[in-house]
Structures are given as C-alpha cells and as structure tokens.
Amino acid sequence: MVDTVTGAGMPALFGARGYPPVLEWIARRAEAFVIPLAALVVGMALFSLFIALVGKSPILLYETMWRGGFGSWFSIQNSLSRAAPLLLAALCVALPARLGLVVIGGEGAIVLGGVGAAAIGVALSGSPSSIVILAMGVAGMAAGGIWIGAVGALRHYRAVNETISSLLMAYIAIALMNQLVERPLRDPASLNKPSTQPLADIYRIGNIPGMDVHWGLVVGVVACVLSWVLIEKTRWGFAARIAGGNVRAAQVQGLAVGPLIVGFTALAGGFAGLAGMLEVAAVQGSANASLAAGYGYTGILVAFLARHNPLAIIPVAILLGGIDASGGLIQRRMDLPDATVLVLQGMIFIVILFSETFYGRFKAFNPDLWKRAS
C-alpha cells in the first residue's frame, strides 16, 4: 500500500506537456484527498438511505450529529476529548500498516496500558507528581508495546497471521485486566465495578488551559506528527516503506526486516498503551472495565480513512470523535439505538475499502497520461 504517486519524478516532467507545473503537482496529490472524501460522502449518503428506510429523517439525523459533534463550543470540546485516544489508537493500526501488516488488536494494548499505568501510579504514590505521571506514561507504553510488539515478533519469526493474533491477544488482554482488577489490584472500596485504587488528584492529568479537554489531545497530535516524521523523513521510515512494499526486496537490500517489524509494532502498541494511560490518568482516575470502550476498534476505521498517513489521522480522528460524541444526542432526540453510530462507521468503512479500487483509474490525477496542451 505504498503511495507510488508521492513525489514521483517531479523535476524530470517539468512542464513537459505544456501545463503549468503547479497543476501537475496538484493533480498528483489530489487523488489521495479526493477519493477518500468522495468515499466519505458516499458512505454518508448510503447511511441517509438506511435511516430513511427505518422511517427517520436523515436531515434531522445529520443536523443532530452536527449539533452533538461540532455545533457548539461544548460539543467541540467533547469531540476533541474523544479524539485524543482515537489519535493514538489509529497510530497502532497505521504504523504497522506501512510495513504491510494489518494489526487490529489495539484495544488490548489500550487496556493493558491503562492497567500498567494505574498499577505504577498506585505503587509510587507519595512521590512527586511529575515523576509519577512520567512513570505512568512509560509503564503504559511498555505494556502496550510489549503486547503489540509480540504480535509483530510472532508475525516475522513464526509467520503467525498478525490480524488474527492481535485480535485474540486483545481478548486475552481484557481477560487479564478483569482478573487483575478483580483480585490483586482491586480497590476493596470498589464494589459494583471492580477498579484499581483511585489515583490521588495530584497524579491526574488536567485540562489544556482555557478548554475542557485534557492534555491527551496534545499528546496524541504530537505522536501523530512524530510518527509522520519517522515514516517520511528518517531512514527507518524509508526502510519500513520498502519492506511494506516488498519484504523479499527489502531483505535482498540487506535491511534488517525483523527488528524493523518488531520495533514498529512495539512503537504502535506503545502509542495505544499511552492512550490507555491517558484514559486512566485524565478521565477514569483508575483502571477498570471502562478501558475497553471500543477506541481500539474505532481507531482501525480512523487509520484506514486516513490511508495510514499519520498527519491525516488528526482531522479524521476529530471527525470520528465528533460522530462518536453525537451518539448520545442521536439516541435521545431521535429515539434511535446507540448502535446507530456503529452502523454509520461500518458503512463508511466498507465504502472506503471499496474506494481502493478507484486509485490510478482517473486520468485527471495522472499527468503522465495527459494530452499535450496545444
């Protein structure tokens, strides 16, 4: 899934067909924007049809969705808060995808990252808050990194299919979390909902000044930017893109594909683990079953919509965070089940995957095929 169009032979074709070079430059890059956007619109149109078929008004639905997601400062902040874990969960899919791996078990890394962070936070209680928060972040990243790194290692060294193994490991992670918060890490005071001991307030992550959105959003955006730099601007990223295009070719070139795969999957899992840590430190205050809230699965959709480009993940995560945030309002105002949002996400996902078939089919995006301007 390497983007073969990016930067392909631009100077050599400089104005060869008599068109302004800038036009060719735009045309070559437009495909990656236009096709996903068109797919998004088609997905939403199909969903309108679905809503009309069940006897509700699609116009009212989108109006409600807009109001619940982006219509007011309050709802925008709500959407941004939900986008924070989605950014990191999407990186857990996008980074391995650049190596040609389909990892879909980010949910497991989120859950274990949250448990690891909560355990460290409770164990170090009494230490200065900056040290504890840092240690929690490291613990969360380590827990998630080991989990998904293992998926990558199994893939490379044992040829175990990473899609299935990562999802199986997500189920195992959730069972592990249930066991840990049920027995060894349980706060005896948590009766109905087994949880770890609550973090003291000084160890919680607060809000960005002037907003009701926690710092996790900034962490997520920074992680996306760093991932983009890693993939596009470093030799490791270059090696990863080669290996993603053709493993054999990369091995012939002498690239250490094994460490590359383990490193990228571990980093990907680390980001998802960080999402779990942020949920604990900024939202929940302790680790419990709420960690498995489905961010890992929505993250898959975010990554595919963004075509595994870390920078594109930022707007897509905010968009899907908004759709997520509007779920409650849709349920209350339109008397639709809360799964409505899931149906919409599923439809968009299918249309996005279908849209892959249109890449390279339109002459408008490929100046090499343009007729000479007379």
Partner: protein
C-alpha cells in the same frame, strides 16, 4: 449441591458436556470458512455474520414462535453477508481481509441496531435430544443433552469432507482456490465460484449464530459472541482446511471454552477470568505451533492471501 456428590468427576463431565454445547457454533462457522478459504478467499467478517445471524434467528423466532424459521432466516441473512463479501472482493485493489474487518464491525453494529427491541422477549429454543436418559445423575443427563444442530454439524462435516474429494463442485472449489489461472484455463470464472463459496460460508456462519441465541446460551444480548467467529477462522488453518479436522478442532475449542464454567461449578473461582481466556490462549498457541516462516502450510489453498 449435586456437584459435590460426584465430586471432581463433575469437571471432565462438565467439560465433555460443555465441549458438545460450546463447539456447535465453531463447527458451523469453521465449516463455512473452510469452504470459503478452499476457494481462495478469507472472510474475517464471519464474526459479524455470527452476531447478525444470532439476532435474526432470535427476532424471527420471537415473532413467528418457530425456532426453525429463525434458523432459516439466520441462514439467509448469513448468505446475504457472504455474497456481499464475495461480490465486493472481486474488484481490483479491494482487500478481502480488510473488508472482513469492516463487515465484522458492520454486522455487529447492524445486529445491535435491529436487535434492541428483542433483548427482553423470550424466544422458543431449538430442540435437544436427551441421550443421557439412561443415567440417574443429573450432570450426566445435562452433559448428554445434545442439540440437533450438533448432530447436523457432525454429519455435514463428513459430507463436506467427502464432497471436496469426490464431487465436481468440490473439485471446482479446490481448483479455483489453488490457482485462478488454472481455473480460467478450465473455463471457470474464479470470481463466481468464490462468490458462491463465500455465500455458502456466510449461510453456515448464520446458522452458527442461530445456535447461540436459540440454544446456548439461548438468549439475545449484545455480548452473545466473544470472538467465536474469529477463532473459527484460526481453527480452519489449524485443521488444514479439512472439514473433519474442523469438527475435531471445534470440539477441542468447545472443551477449552467449557473449562472456566466447569471449574466454577465445583467451586474453583480463583482465576475465573483467566480460564475464561483459555480458548483464546489455546488458539494463539496452536497458531504459533503450526505456523512456520520457512515452509508453506500443507494443504493450504495456493490463492489464499493469509498464507502467501
């Protein structure tokens, strides 16, 4: 207090009974997936099909008061999902694994959407045959209460095993799965064969879902399936695409799934959640042991993306 009367014998007995009860959806999903994968495609969306089948079966059974109509409806719903997967995957650049993931989410979402009103009502169950009537011990009777779908599944796996070897249809599916080019040279259209194979696979997964909601656990909830559809896909690889192997592996997985509840029934509650994870751990271990980076799997269809 019956469990204490036969003491620890209750554990293997409960595992046996559990293996028969829990394995049935695995049998149907894995047989369906075996047909699909033999044709050269992989459908990870069967998890979503299973959930949607469970919902459809339950809803239709509630409305018509007939579990068999529910079963039929679930099979048709599964057929539809399978045909959709088979159709969309024929387009160039559309990845069958990714579409499967999308259908997994979409099928579950759609099932929750339409299944909301059916969480409360009670549907009639599929019938079971009491093979344990000769015994007075309630645990033995419970363990040998065998649902008809289990028996149908057992027969079906033998029929499929025979059909893959001895029938024209079986040969066509295998040729298409091994080489699209060879199939085209024989005048077969691989896309059509795969469309039908994925459709049949989906229908079988729908039946597996009907078993979940209409027999065991026997109610419709949003948590009805926890990865059975996905484990069945892994199980097919373990079974080397052999229907008889699928049946045996399904029994093994069913037994692993019954381990937690069986131990709980004799009073072992420590580590309950870890025993609950036993089927996932078993699946993972089996995948690790049976995969190899240096050789392709024996019996693997040549066109299958997952083993390439």
């Amino acid at each position: 207090m019956d469990a204490t009367e036969i003491g620890l014998w209750g554990v293997p007995l409960a595992i046996l009974g559990g293996a028969i009860r829990v394995s049935t959806p695995f049998i149907f999903v894995s047989l369906g997936e075996a047909i699909t994968e033999r044709s050269g495609r992989i459908n990870l969306g069967l998890e979503g099909t299973l959930v949607f089948g469970a919902m459809t079966a339950y809803a239709v059974a509630v409305m018509t008061n007939s579990p068999w109509l529910g079963l039929l409806a679930a099979a048709f719903a599964g057929l539809f999902f399978g045909l959709f997967h088979g159709w969309i995957c024929k387009f160039r650049g559309v990845n069958d694994i990714a579409i499967g993931i999308a259908l997994m989410l979409f099928g579950s979402g759609l099932a929750f959407f339409f299944g909301k009103p059916f969480i409360k009502p009670k549907a009639p169950n599929l019938p079971a045959i009491p093979f344990g009537g000769w015994s007075d011990i309630p645990q033995v009777q419970a363990a040998l209460d065998v649902n008809v779908l289990f028996l149908i599944g057992a027969v079906l796996s033998v029929i499929l095993w025979w059909a893959f070897r001895n029938t024209r249809a079986g040969l066509i599916v295998r040729v298409v799965g091994d080489s699209s080019d060879a199939a085209r040279a024989m005048g077969l259209n691989p896309d059509t064969v795969r469309l039908l194979a994925t459709g049949v696979g989906g229908a079988l997964a729908g039946i597996g879902g009907a078993y979940l909601s209409l027999y065991y656990p026997g109610s419709w909830t949003e948590r009805i399936s926890s990865g059975q559809g996905l484990m069945a896909v892994a199980l097919v690889i373990f079974a080397r695409w052999n229907p008889l192997g699928c049946f045996a592996a399904a029994l093994l997985f069913g037994g692993a799934g019954a381990l937690g509840p069986a131990l709980q029934s004799v009073g072992v509650t420590q580590g309950y959640y870890l025993f609950y994870a036993a089927p996932y751990i078993l699946t993972l271990i089996i995948m690790i042991v049976t995969s190899s980076p240096t050789r392709t799997l024996a019996g693997a269809p040549g066109e299958l993306s997952i083993t390439k």
